[in-house]
Symmetry: C2
Subunit: 333 residues, 2 copies
């Protein structure tokens, strides 16, 4: 039997702090990787140049042909036009035709996705949700982002704007609807902590910041909660409960087999996951709970690279996930 | 050029009160239709027999071959197994293998869908959302049901349980999450009216029911609202506002081009639609509003038959809607 040489995939993860690049094989094994500082404050052109240099270095010299370049960016993208609308941490990156710029330079197929969507894709093909066809991915960090795999495909919506799970309206206070992100993100937890500390509630957090209340953020709340501080635990519990209510709505809308939760706040582990699971179990209809799992993200900091590469092997997230996942190396991830 | 004879499609709409059947051509023109009373109280076997008799009568005698039978049922179905889990208005219809029963009897491909999903499909291929790829359909009647077309395909989820938009958690009262349906359905509006009338609030509704408060239901609230009764208008406005908040969450999750609202309560027209649109516009992110329309359902009582037939021509809702819609007769609907 003749051996068909496999193609290489180039994956790029553009972040506000770092740009990562990797060369992978078609089973998404990472063969080489490299990274550099983004230096986003220099504006669009130098960052785009650095990014292209990294891709150039990752291209195989005389190795297998390249199937395509997958790019993860920290902002909303339109998969139909290959445009990045904007990125909060990348000044000057507004309405950038990333796909056409890179296609012109490298003469290869280019796929573009936003980081939360690509994390959903990566966790589905190689991570915690491997083998699932219906997956909700939530990232709980400063904000709350989402990515969704529905009926085996990445959910995109008109202009690629779907899956903004952090913007579900959840609570109505004095007639005003409030989104999940404004109550349960790291930023929201920090703000709730500062307000309650300022009112004089006793807490370890006073000591952790040497009495400088403005230094209390989501990270400090997390540190205090891990040391069993009652106020921090209460704030984490309330946020987890609201996340659970949001997850329950998502479960009724998508009937997923798996909810994967990542992002910095998810490092709190069971302090976060136990009340999320309890809330969901208490309020979703039983047939939905029977097939549901709620688990931490599995892929760590490679999630962006793997998601970007997965875009290439899934034809932009549109291939059937279960089929694709079965093809990939089971020892990965 | 030789003429390829078109295939016929048989559509069946099983309701708690009536069973409707139709023969359609592949462009979803209705060629013949017939209906009979369900007499659901007789239980499973007689209803299944009536339904099969109706299909038998709708089959073309010596006309074109039949592409398949599409069936709309008033309860959750699993498209993978062809099973109807249950149907509130059909006693004895629990875990019925509708697809295999009909396939065995007629030797034709059979597709099964629940009524709200099929209304979404019908409105997308031939109704208010024609040509759209991302559609939210809500039916506001006694309860609140939903059907969703996402990225050009009917959203199904694990075991077909997705799109239950009436079960989104929306309000948190005294720490208890409440679903949209329990606050904004016809049933909820009737209950709110009875409570407020019992507290002595003045209203035309007292007269409309001859003082018999237990006769006040969603329909009575609607009648009074259409006569500008202040209490009824307030109840409708509050429900519409909550529906608007729910729609705003759905918009952030699916980025639809169209939200279609049907069901008995939608007959209130602008009394319902104006506050829904105002609420959505006030709280969704601007890029989502720019491409969004919120419109009444267009297909009337044929929606179930057209949705069931659409299941056949879309291979169970999985074909691409825009392509399919373009193939259909533009004078339909």
């Amino acid at each position: 039997m003749s051996h068909t040489p496999r193609k290489a995939i180039i994956a790029l993860d553009l972040g506000g702090t770092r740009i990562r690049v990797a060369r992978l094989d078609e089973r998404l094994n990472i063969l080489m990787r490299q990274e550099t500082l983004t230096l986003a404050e220099q504006g669009f052109a130098p960052v785009m140049e650095r990014l292209q240099d990294l891709i150039q270095q990752a291209l195989p010299q005389d190795g297998p042909p390249v199937a395509g370049i997958g790019v993860a960016v920290p902002g909303p993208v339109n998969p139909a036009t290959g445009l990045l609308f904007s990125a909060e941490n990348l000044p000057g990156w507004d309405n950038v035709p990333v796909v056409s710029i890179l296609q012109e330079r490298f003469g290869l197929p280019v796929f573009l996705g936003n980081d939360a969507n690509l994390a959903a894709l990566a966790e589905t093909v190689l991570g915690a949700a491997r083998g699932c066809q219906n997956v909700i991915y939530l990232t709980i960090s400063t904000g709350i982002g989402g990515g969704i795999v529905a009926d085996g495909k990445l959910l995109l919506g008109h202009e690629g704007l779907a899956a903004e799970a952090g913007w579900m309206f959840l609570v109505i206070d004095n007639g005003q609807p409030v989104i999940l992100q404004d109550r349960a993100s790291g930023l929201a937890m920090g703000q709730q902590a500062r307000e309650r500390l300022a009112r004089g509630e006793p807490s370890l957090m006073h000591t952790l910041v040497d009495g400088q209340l403005d230094r209390v953020d989501g990270r400090i709340v997390g540190l205090a909660a891990q040391q069993s501080d009652a106020l921090a635990l209460d704030i984490v519990y309330n946020a987890a409960r609201l996340i659970g209510v949001g997850v329950a709505s998502l479960v009724h809308l998508f009937s997923p087999e798996m909810v994967v939760i990542g992002g910095g706040v998810s490092a709190l582990g069971e302090l976060l996951f136990a009340p999320i699971r309890q809330t969901v179990r208490a309020i979703v209809m039983p047939p939905y709970w029977d097939h549901l799992r709620i688990e931490p993200a599995a892929l760590g900091e490679d999630v962006g690279l793997i998601g970007a590469a997965a875009l290439v092997v899934t034809d932009g997230g549109l291939g059937n996930m279960a089929d694709i996942s079965a093809r990939l190396n089971p020892n990965q991830g």
